[in-house]
């Protein structure tokens, strides 16, 4: 313990790796995809050139799509292994405190949060996963399904039109494009705020790269989970050392790059929608 602080491990190595891959593929997909969606802006043409022209940008887009699908598949496999190794049954995993599914506590927390926002109550005692984290989590599932499937149709129109009418490719285009707008818009604003920009985390929370939060902080941020772990005596299992400063620095640099890219994209979208929309 370099500075004498204790650290709590929130994310294991696999999940952190997957998230980094997710960031890389998502940003690539956003940049290349939006440059096509907003092809009438000068920015789009510039970006397209950055990616080595449209054709090359297309390869980037599809490669990133493949990476994202691998990330998604890996996560699904991970869920199966998690069930087998730690929970034994789907029921235990999905009903338990660590479940990503929405449950009664989330509803209670959500209402309590709103009360807190309005000054009608104390800050709720959030558990391992807050309701907004669960929302983000399932947003990915929804996005993977909607964008992924429509994207495949656009990738292989000749194959898919054996089963679906040609005009559905037009529909798929709109769905793919607007859902992508939703995804990027949501991630680069709401998700960024929830995790990085909200004042207590500002300017950035690198927990998704390091997996570690100071125990003190965790205790205050997720009191319900902390108490539970103390009671069950499992807290020790999650206590780890902090990474050396150079690693933290690298993580911060990566984090900044991703954040700034996201913000730039948001600015570009706003510009394209407001000033250059056709």
């Amino acid at each position: 313990m370099a500075n004498g602080k204790k650290y709590f491990l929130r994310f294991n190595r696999l999940n952190r790796t997957l998230h980094v891959l997710m960031i890389i593929s998502f940003l690539t997909l956003s940049l290349t995809g939006l440059s096509l969606k907003f092809s009438y802006t000068g920015w789009a043409k510039f970006l397209s050139r950055v990616f080595g022209g449209f054709e090359s940008a297309g390869y980037f887009h599809r490669s990133a799509a493949v990476i994202m699908m691998i990330v998604f598949a890996t996560h699904i496999i991970y869920l199966f292994r998690l069930k087998r190794n730690e929970f034994g049954s789907w029921k235990a995993m999905l009903i338990g405190d660590h479940s990503m599914l929405f449950n009664k506590k989330d509803l209670k927390d959500f209402i309590a949060s709103l009360k807190w926002f309005l000054g009608l109550g104390e800050r709720p005692e959030y558990g391992r996963w807050t309701y907004w984290e669960k929302f983000d989590y399932f947003a990915v599932f929804w996005g993977m399904f909607v964008i992924g499937s429509s994207g495949l149709m656009l990738w292989f129109p000749e194959f898919f039109t054996r089963f679906i009418p040609g005009w559905f490719i037009n529909v798929a285009t709109i769905i793919h494009s607007d859902e992508a707008l939703l995804a990027t818009g949501f991630i680069f604003t709401v998700h960024f705020f929830n995790t990085h920009l909200r004042p207590e985390k500002f300017p950035m929370d690198i927990v998704i790269f390091s997996g570690r939060v100071p125990l003190e902080e965790y205790k205050l941020d997720r009191p319900a989970e902390y108490k539970k772990l103390v009671e069950s005596g499992e807290l020790e299992k999650y206590l780890v050392d902090e990474y050396p400063p150079i690693v933290i620095r690298a993580m911060k640099i990566f984090g900044w790059a991703a954040l700034l890219t996201g913000f730039s994209i948001i600015l570009w979208i706003i510009y394209a929608m407001l000033f250059a929309y056709r």
């Binding site: 004498g4 440059s35 096509l36 969606k37 092809s39 009438y40 789009a44 043409k45 397209s48 022209g53 449209f54 054709e55 940008a57 949060s113 709103l114 807190w116 926002f117 309005l118 000054g119 800050r123 907004w132 656009l154 129109p157 000749e158 194959f159 039109t161 054996r162 679906i164 009418p165 040609g166 005009w167 490719i169 037009n170 529909v171 285009t173 709109i174 769905i175 607007d178 859902e179 707008l181 939703l182 818009g185 949501f186 604003t189 709401v190 705020f193 929830n194 909200r198 004042p199 207590e200 500002f202 003190e216 902080e217 205050l220 056709r278």
Partner: protein, 666 residues
């Protein structure tokens, strides 16, 4: 019948017997012998109009004449052979009894009209033909033999005669001029009986003034008249006047007499016998300069001999010289007029923009020599010629290059044309690949009939441009003329595109060139804005907008020169052809695949309801999500700031506690 036959045989002859004497031998009136019994007396006198005249007829001579087989009374029909000797007052013989066709011509002619008026100067048949002793016209002793005609006509038409003095004859010195003319020389000096005489041009009997349309010397008939002898003259003059036009449009073209004056006919206007050497006596001197401006008047004769005009004499171009002067060129008043020989080109030039500027004395206007040079003029097939194909861009550039005089006065959109042309596919083909078949300036603008594009006569007028381009790109023109863009097909009255609307003029590129493929969408969109806009709403358009060349552009689907409405079965997009068209890029395309909307928009609920509702469904989802999440975030913000302060405080307290603990333990 017999007499008729004879008359026909000698159709030029007409007979008028004027003097008839009463026979002193009344018993013998059955034959000519009866007549000659009295008329062979060379002392026999008769009376006519109160004058005493000889009525002697030489029988032998009469018998040898063309009328020798006739009876006297056949002509002198008023004499009764039973009642001889006949009275003194015998009527004039009417040749028209037999020669009625000739008589008719005579009556129509000036001579006949004068006779009918009672003009005492009017010539009668006998005035020209004589009477009892008429012999065949082919006989050189005939009064109307060619050699005698000028003298015959000259009896009345030479200077000083009553006819010449008292009647209105527009020409003077007719005989004098004729005798010096090439026709007169041929006839009179060289004895060529085939040489033209008065009657060759004016005809024999129906002589009419040139103002009469029926006249052989009327403007419209001149060519026909001259070509009776000069049958091949049209071929010789073809360079000056297109043969067939000469007779058809005599009103606009020069007639023979415009150049070859009647009665003074010479070979041509320019002086014969002016040898080039005569000119070179002075102009062979290298130091010869003009008095006025000091320019050199030296002519390098070897240059002329190597030129296209090597067989043309100086005086043929520098006409108006007079060989009889010490300096024959002193009489020259005009500059060389190339159109004297190159008349067709001269006409083209005169109506071209160059020619009209020249007519206005514009100092910028180029004349023949600016492009073709002067003495050293070379044919366009000679690579050293300024008008050899590969030299043409440079030639025109002398005035049309950016900054030069023609480019400065031009105000249209085609700027920097020479530089653009050089970079164009035509320019590269010509100047880099050395293809002499490549289009140069003159292939599109013509060599001598250049006109601005808004002139309907111009080769680059929208109406004519397909034809102009088609002179090389014939196959394309054929396709284009069948397409919906052709005025032959599209009758909607809308403005239709022509070659240069899509391909541009001087910057023309290969159609597989990147720039062309990207710009064509704009070009089509100029006229089809709505359909272009929706194209840019779909994948092909969006990708193209990013500068991607391979994606389908307008003409990849619709066809280029053979473009037709999609409801035309021959269209590339008709139901029969559309799959094949998609398969050009999407090899496994099917009928369903072709159902993709390439021009779809999600703004049209009637035409594309699925797209419209998908779009608004997605937009609703978007708005819903963002509003919800946005509100959550905004509400959260103030509490979060509060929480941050609280956290800090707690953390600080904790670390203080820890410090205390540490201190205590120490």
């Amino acid at each position: 019948m017999i007499s008729k036959r004879i008359t026909n045989k000698f159709s030029t002859a007409a007979l008028l017997l004027l003097f008839v004497l009463a026979s002193p031998f009344p018993l013998n009136a059955q034959s000519n012998e009866d007549c000659f019994m009295c008329h062979e007396d060379n002392q026999l006198k008769g009376k006519r109009n109160g004058r005493t005249i000889s009525v002697y007829v030489i029988e032998k001579k009469f018998n040898k004449s063309v009328h020798g087989d006739l009876e006297c009374v056949d002509c002198h029909s008023d004499i009764d052979p039973e009642d001889l000797p006949h009275p003194d007052d015998v009527e004039q013989v009417d040749c028209g009894i037999c020669h009625d066709d000739v008589q008719e011509l005579y009556n129509q002619g000036l001579h006949g009209q004068a006779f009918a008026r009672g003009d005492p100067l009017a010539p009668l048949c006998k005035t020209c033909h004589g009477y009892h002793y008429i012999i065949p016209v082919k006989n050189i002793n005939s009064a109307v033999a060619p050699l005698k005609i000028p003298f015959l006509c000259g009896k009345c038409h030479r200077e000083g005669t009553k006819v010449q003095l008292q009647r209105h004859i527009p020409k003077d010195k007719i005989l004098e001029n004729y005798s010096q003319s090439i026709h007169g020389e041929g006839l009179l000096k060289k004895g060529l009986v085939v040489s033209a005489t008065c009657v060759s041009c004016h005809s024999s009997h129906r002589i009419l003034p040139h103002t009469d349309k029926r006249s052989t010397i009327a403007r419209n008939n001149i060519a026909a008249t001259c070509s009776k002898c000069h049958a091949e003259i049209e071929a010789v003059h073809r360079k000056i006047i297109r043969g067939e036009l000469w007779e058809k449009e005599a009103n606009v073209l020069p007639a023979c007499v415009d150049c070859h004056q009647p009665h003074k006919i010479r070979k041509a206007f320019y002086e014969q016998g002016m040898a080039d050497n005569d000119c070179l006596r002075c102009h062979g001197n290298k130091n010869l300069t003009a008095k006025t401006d000091g320019r050199s008047l030296f002519v390098d004769y070897t240059v002329i001999k190597d030129s296209k005009h090597q067989n043309i004499a100086c005086s043929q171009c520098h006409s108006e010289v007079n060989a009889s002067k010490t300096r024959p060129c002193v009489t020259i008043t005009k500059k060389v007029d190339c159109s004297a020989c190159h008349s067709e080109i001269g006409e083209q030039y005169a109506t071209s923009i160059h020619g009209t500027l020249f007519a206005k004395n514009d100092p910028n206007a180029p004349t023949c020599k600016e492009c073709h040079g002067t003495h050293g003029v070379l044919g366009r097939e000679n690579p050293d010629s300024p008008i050899f194909t590969t030299n043409i861009p440079n030639l025109c550039a002398k005035c049309h290059r950016k900054g030069e005089k023609a480019a400065r006065r031009y105000t249209g959109p085609e700027v920097n044309i020479i530089a653009h042309y050089t970079q164009s596919i035509h320019g590269k083909g010509l100047l880099k690949s050395g293809l002499t078949v490549t289009a140069t300036c003159t292939d599109c603008h013509t060599a001598h009939h250049e006109l601005p594009h808004d002139n309907p006569e111009s080769s680059i007028n929208p109406k004519n441009i397909a034809q102009t381009c088609g002179s090389c790109h014939h196959g394309i023109e054929e396709q284009f003329q069948k397409s919906i863009h052709s005025p032959l097909v599209s009758k909607a009255g809308k403005k239709l595109p022509v070659c240069n609307d899509c391909h541009s003029a001087h910057t023309i590129r290969r159609a597989d060139n990147k720039g062309f493929r990207l710009e064509i969408m704009q070009q089509c969109g100029n006229c089809h804005p709505r359909i272009a806009k929706t194209y840019f709403d779909t994948y092909h358009g969006k990708v193209s907008q990013l500068g991607y060349v391979k994606t389908a552009k307008c003409y990849d689907c619709h066809g280029a020169h053979d473009i037709l409405p999609v409801d035309d079965p021959r269209s590339h997009l008709s139901r029969e052809n559309v799959i094949k068209t998609c398969q050009k890029c999407h090899p496994s395309a099917t009928r369903q695949f072709a159902g993709y909307f390439t021009h779809a928009t999600h703004h049209d609920p009637d035409k594309y309801p699925y797209l419209y509702w998908t779009f608004w469904g997605m937009t609703g989802l978007l708005l819903f999500t963002f509003i919800l999440a946005g509100m959550h975030t905004i509400l959260w913000l103030p509490r979060s700031i509060q929480w941050r302060r609280q956290l800090k405080k707690i953390m600080n307290e904790n670390s203080d506690e820890q410090k205390d603990k540490k201190d205590k333990s120490v």
